[in-house]
Symmetry: C2
Subunit: 313 residues, 2 copies
Amino acid sequence: MGLLVVGSVALDSVETPFGRTENAVGGSAVFFGVAGALLHPVQMVGVVGRDYPMDELRRLAARGEGLDLRGVTVADGESFRWVGVYGFDLQTRDTLETRLGVFANFRPVIPEPFRDAEYVFLGNIDPELQLDVLTQVHRPKLVACDTMNYWIQGKRTALMKLLEQVDVLLVNDSEVRELSGDWHIHRAARWVMAHGPKHVVVKKGEHGAVLVGADRIFYVPAFPLDDVFDPTGAGDSFAGGFMAHLARTGDLSEANMRRAMVYGSALGAFAVERFSVGRFEEISRADVVARVRAYRDLVDFELDAEPGDGGHR
Amino acid sequence: MGLLVVGSVALDSVETPFGRTENAVGGSAVFFGVAGALLHPVQMVGVVGRDYPMDELRRLAARGEGLDLRGVTVADGESFRWVGVYGFDLQTRDTLETRLGVFANFRPVIPEPFRDAEYVFLGNIDPELQLDVLTQVHRPKLVACDTMNYWIQGKRTALMKLLEQVDVLLVNDSEVRELSGDWHIHRAARWVMAHGPKHVVVKKGEHGAVLVGADRIFYVPAFPLDDVFDPTGAGDSFAGGFMAHLARTGDLSEANMRRAMVYGSALGAFAVERFSVGRFEEISRADVVARVRAYRDLVDFELDAEPGDGGHR
């Protein structure tokens, strides 16, 4: 089943306490696509400048189940560039520079063969553009989107209109708090659900992620890594794993949404082990599946038999 | 099997965004004892002044499986008092006043009938006193302890000597970081384990708790509560649930340690729903068991069958 991502395609320069990289491939669509393609083919829509290392992107796109780049437009001008520095604990980051380049005039055009995509992820771009993408796709089975403080503050009306058409909102904890005006994550998620989405996924970085649905909450911790190298792209890689698992299985049951959360967490955890998308070049779907299984050991416990209640596992 | 707690017995005055309480029963031994006694009888050792509301403590002690107060000494002078204020998000708290009173000269004497306790919890007191308690008990099957930044900084030598004799260290994330000098929780826990304890329990407040053992990590999230009223005592209530489950079952297997983590989390979550130990007066063991079961739904997921590997649950 077709899986479409629309988002940024960028060149990231990142400094962490463990090293630095310059002009490495990045952006929400790239992390989503390269991570997701380990599980399921991904169709990508975005824009780059003539300076973008398309050979490298094509090389990455050939891996796994494949990343279809027919929706990536090469425009006159510079590619979107982001320069950031992380603090010692990798929790805080400062953006030193954002140069939008050709991304400033990005107007997503979904190629005809992508318009039947049943799974659509709207990466973090202007909600008016996210809305426009939804007019171009035919009948998606599931639409998920991300957003950020910039749009919550500046394009709230469009964002609220978008939410009415979205099935799953995937955001981080500060974003869901800001959007809802409620600091309490679960109440904030329910506020969002009253405005459209049936599920809210709240990503909490090193504290894991939560899936909030109509009457159940599912919690998945962050995978215990000894070394986190570069947190950039973890959230988009999470989204890639989450959506690719759903697209691969075509199953939107609660049980499978939970599995998708674990696939998302696994891919988010791989993302941070190297700069850029480097870790995804070293692994295959088998590694992802192994990590998903390791998650079970991380959270699994058996209920004890209680005297008088007949015994339970 | 005997379960002994040695710790503070205090009068807490707490202000949260939701209200305030004055001179309410509190202290590590009280939260541990009242929470733990919902599952298993608890023997308490501590000291109070003549001003302490012993009638109220006796009333609380009669609940559940019972709290044996024969180790609570009433001394001339004032009881230990703590005055604190929590910020809006309940994450930060300021101590306005600490009056040690009779607690300043506390020298725990373990009553003869308590010395055979097989499960011993050393609440957060001077590590020299914690060490002294261990000379008074006969042959405990499991010794767990808590500590705090004050002792980590001021009594490091005694604390390290204590750790050699402790099976489980239960601390919060900032404490394990400060003790080990490593900001990374899992590495910090392993550092502690290299100095004695076979397990480390790291309590992370609203982000749950982690059990780190020789080669496995178990993660339990915080229970999703709509309203947190007063975080005071959550960690000690966690310890009470954890230890009382182990004492009740007498089973130190990895599977049962994991269950104990969930019992601890359940009792920690009840603690924060009212001021002082108020919530424990409203519930019975059946409520604790129901919450433990609800935890399963919060984290449970089934692995999908992977083609070619024969299928897995």
